[in-house]
Symmetry: C2
Subunit: 203 residues, 2 copies
DNA sequence: CCTCGACATTGCGCCAGCGCAAACTTCCAC
DNA sequence: GTGGAAGTTTGCGCTGGCGCAATGTCGAGG
């Protein structure tokens, strides 16, 4: 519940080509909250009430099928906005957002989105780019699911995570949050068993 | 290459909450072209040079994998914009657009996108909604590909087409363009054979 | 009317990946 | 430590869907 310094966020894509003053004005409408690991931020189907910016930590977005199977739609990386269903014309959240780690997020009430966009048009343009690149990623995934088998899908999923949240260490690259076989299965559309077998062949 | 009457397009989502004058100004920057069936409008990988609005007909967007397999990303319905890679921060088209039918499209040079958005901020907001709903659809498809088997994927793919381009007739619903088994296969990530078998069990 | 080419169907063998059960490994909590 | 819960690995049988080849259907052009 503390104020946010614009120097912390002004460099993010969301604020690109906005003046510092505008950026500060936008930040005046928000506050930061801490989200403990495994806490659900919003649930699929819930009425949209807020949108968010991830300052620190990691968030997982999942969708549940009517049959009760869970699919991981994406991991939100630091600096990204999420929960922007309102901007896309939705009235309920299309997925569930859960903190994978202890995280810190900025919260805005969705009610002010329209006003913010009217006051700072660059905001819509920047959000458009973000959503656009997510669309790209989703299409890539559709293509992968259509044409590749599990082994390659797992490989690509891991590469995507590394590019997004990888950290170089002496031994190689490390993803800085917990990732179970179950998670990989839910990202790739495979079973835990197959994922386990696949990974074991790579040592 | 003829002028376009604003009354034809003013009701489209793209122009929502824009004044007629603005709408007309935007239309003054475009011209319509006829695209014969099977003509490629732009190719995946090509530098973005234009964005489009489909007035009449049907367009198919496909992606080719490095291995040469083709996947149908989506069908563009009448009234939709497409080829808006520029707005999403891309420099090359992420997919190939081909006319499925003889079609009529409006063309704008991408160079004016930035200016249009600056002059008419609602344009960015409206585009954001469009892209948002495509993102939704893409995620739905990822979930389907992850959890359902071919039969249900085919069913959903057809339902999506019907909702989008269906026309009611005495005998039922009709999709108003040619659709081969190969097409359905490329939409669902199955083979022509399996699609054929699946459809035959439904009579 | 016949031919040719494109598309669709069908039979058959095969295998990637699933489902399940059982064993093994970690990591807490007490 | 010790017991238990959660996560992982592995063996095994089964099957959905693929690959291919052969055959069937339909429409357009000579």
């Amino acid at each position: 519940m503390s104020a946010v310094d614009s120097s912390m966020v002004a460099h993010l894509p969301l604020f690109e080509s906005l003046y510092t003053a505008a950026c500060e004005a936008i930040l005046r409408e928000t506050h930061s909250i801490r989200v403990p690991k495994n806490k659900v931020i919003f649930e699929q189907g819930e009425d949209v009430h807020s949108f968010y910016l991830l300052l620190h930590g990691h968030i997982r977005a999942t969708k549940m099928t009517p049959a009760g199977e869970q699919v991981i739609v994406r991991y939100v990386a630091t600096g990204e906005i999420f929960g922007i269903g309102q901007a896309m014309g939705l009235t309920t959240y299309p997925a569930t957002a859960t903190a994978v780690d202890d995280s810190v997020v900025l919260v805005w009430p969705t009610t002010i989105w329209t006003r913010l966009v009217a006051d700072y048009p660059a905001l819509a343009a920047n959000t458009l780019k973000t959503v656009g690149s997510r669309l790209q990623e989703a299409h890539t995934r559709v293509v992968e699911m259509s044409t590749q088998q599990v082994e390659q899908r797992v490989a690509h999923a891991l590469l995507r995570l590394i590019n997004q949240s990888g950290r170089k260490t002496a031994q190689g690259v490390e993803i800085d949050f917990q990732l179970s076989r179950q998670d990989i299965a839910e990202m790739t559309g495979a079973t835990v068993f197959t994922v386990s077998r696949t990974l074991s062949t790579w040592e």
